[in-house]
Amino acid sequence: MTATVELDEVGRRYGATWAVDAVSLALEPGVVGLLGPNGAGKTTLLRMIATALAPSRGRLSVFGLDPALPRQRTEIRRRLGYLPQEVGFPRGFTAFAFVDYVAVLKEWTVPGPRHAEVRRVLEAVNLGALGAKRIRALSGGQRRRLGLAQALLGSPALLVLDEPTAGLDPEQRAALRAVLAELGRTALVVLSTHQTDDVAALCERVVVLDGGRIRYDGGVTELVERAAGRVWLADQPDPAAPVSWRTGTGRYRNLAEQAPAEAELVEPSLEDAYLLLRGQSATPARAS
């Protein structure tokens, strides 16, 4: 059976630099999180999956279709919702007018059903009462949710979301997680984020990118387990630890192979596991 999204040795080059280099993935319905530092290639990878950018090499297939072929690309886009990292809003528009405009581009040609769908997605991101408000009068978090609303039009089978929780307050993030978790039951949701707790709360699978290459691809639980036995709370920072920081309690969280003096072993979090992975060699690793 064909995966919803398949990448086979896909790469994307800007000048002499490979932003994404020989990435191979097969993604099935569910919520998949992309983690990685700035410049890791997350946005480039998402743009290729969203058919906004052509790979420089390799084979990309979405719904078993080839985005290099115009007709198949159009068919992919009919089943796709995409939230770019930075949504350019025509600021004179109202929230409703913007989503309505994208809905027309997404082939919602009949006004009645289109307006109902626009209202549905605005309600889904808790902007139902702000449809008539000008975009320039919306807060950053509200604009982010507006960008997400247009991506939800038509309940797409593939949602590509580049940092959907950026700029949202904790309450909004929780509400958004609920929306995405529900979507992930039937659709493939691929999201990038810098928030490891978003990934821990939402995703069954996580892909860690660094330098355009996959450093980890597997379950969230498996990644967390890799850090088991290597997270220590101590009164002093451990000079030997690759990563160490002072927590809110005044104690130091040390990520180290060996126990620091008078340290207490604690349960690892996804953030610990991610930081440990980042601190390791650049050798690609797989969970299974």
Binding site: A54, Y82, F96, Y101, K106, H115, Q150
Partner: protein, 284 residues
């Protein structure tokens, strides 16, 4: 609270709207101060036998939907109505008039033309004509380029991932820009010093076609910039050799028409390569 209460029949008549004015006023005055009677109003409304047969009470959802329509739906502009009247499907008409980058370019184009008419008028017939011919034919192609260039269009990344055909979008916007820009520019011509015929519209048409065709290789704005530089040199050269008006000689006019026709052929043949080269090239 009083000991007297509105009796059932009077309440039913008040609810039904069949009570006399004086008795209705009396009942209303009592209802304002009597909570027990007020609680009977809802039951009296439900008990109205004629309710189902009267004019249907509007559904709340429908009323609310209509109110939201009035508040939320973007208003249909006169230009959108015009586009629908000339046969454009409503969704396409909406797309053209709502296009984020649409309004500014054509407004700027019209203002520029008017500004150049004023400027050209200060230089007398010879130089005035040269300035006008240097600028006016380029405005439509610049407006078209601006209406679909990645550096200008704020929502382009979002638009890129939709199934709407890029060629159709480009042509719709181009036609809309031309539909407003060309008549405005043409209307300004008679106010120029000297005699500048409307023939300048022909190179203008050729340049617009050229921008669209060149957009299958590069960005619309780069194409328009290249054309602008070339045209500027041609007009200056012609003006130095005698009169700038020579660029509208019959021999040249045929060339402009050929350019327009060839551009259409190229655009149709290569429309699948229409692209917005963001950071090195993507699909449209």
């Amino acid at each position: 609270m009083s000991a007297w209460h509105v009796d059932d029949d009077a309440l039913a008549r008040w609810v039904d709207g069949t009570e006399t004015f004086a008795r209705a006023a009396s009942s209303e005055a009592h209802l304002l101060v009597c909570a027990p009677c007020r609680t009977r109003v809802a039951a009296a409304v439900r008990a109205q036998p004629s309710r189902g047969e009267r004019a249907e009470l509007p559904e709340f959802e429908a009323v609310w939907g209509n109110v939201r329509d009035v508040i939320e739906l973007p208003r249909v502009s006169a230009f959108e109505r015009l586009l629908r009247r000339v046969g454009l499907p409503p969704a396409d008409a909406r797309l053209v008039t709502l296009a984020p980058s649409f309004r500014a370019p054509w407004l700027a184009g019209i203002l520029l033309v008017l500004a150049f008419v004023v400027v050209a008028a200060q230089f007398g017939p010879g130089r005035g004509q040269a300035i006008f011919l240097m600028v006016a034919p380029l405005l439509p192609c610049l407006a078209v380029a601006l209406s679909y260039d990645p550096s200008i269009e704020p929502a382009l990344e979002t638009e890129l991932a939709t199934p709407y055909p890029a060629l159709r979008l480009v042509l719709l916007r181009s036609l809309a820009v031309l539909g407003i820009g060309l008549p405005a520019a043409a209307a300004a011509s008679p106010f120029l010093p000297g005699n500048v015929s409307y023939l300048w519209l022909l190179p203008s048409l050729g340049f617009v076609g050229c921008v669209l065709a060149a957009s299958t290789w590069t960005t619309p704005l780069s194409a328009a910039a290249g054309i602008s530089v070339a045209w500027f040199l041609i007009v200056v050269g012609t003006a130095l050799a005698g009169s700038a008006h020579a660029v509208l000689r019959p021999a040249y006019l045929g060339g402009y028409l050929t350019l327009a026709a060839a551009s259409v052929v190229v655009l149709l043949a290569r429309h699948r390569h229409l692209r917005q080269p963001q950071e090195g090239g993507g699909w449209v």
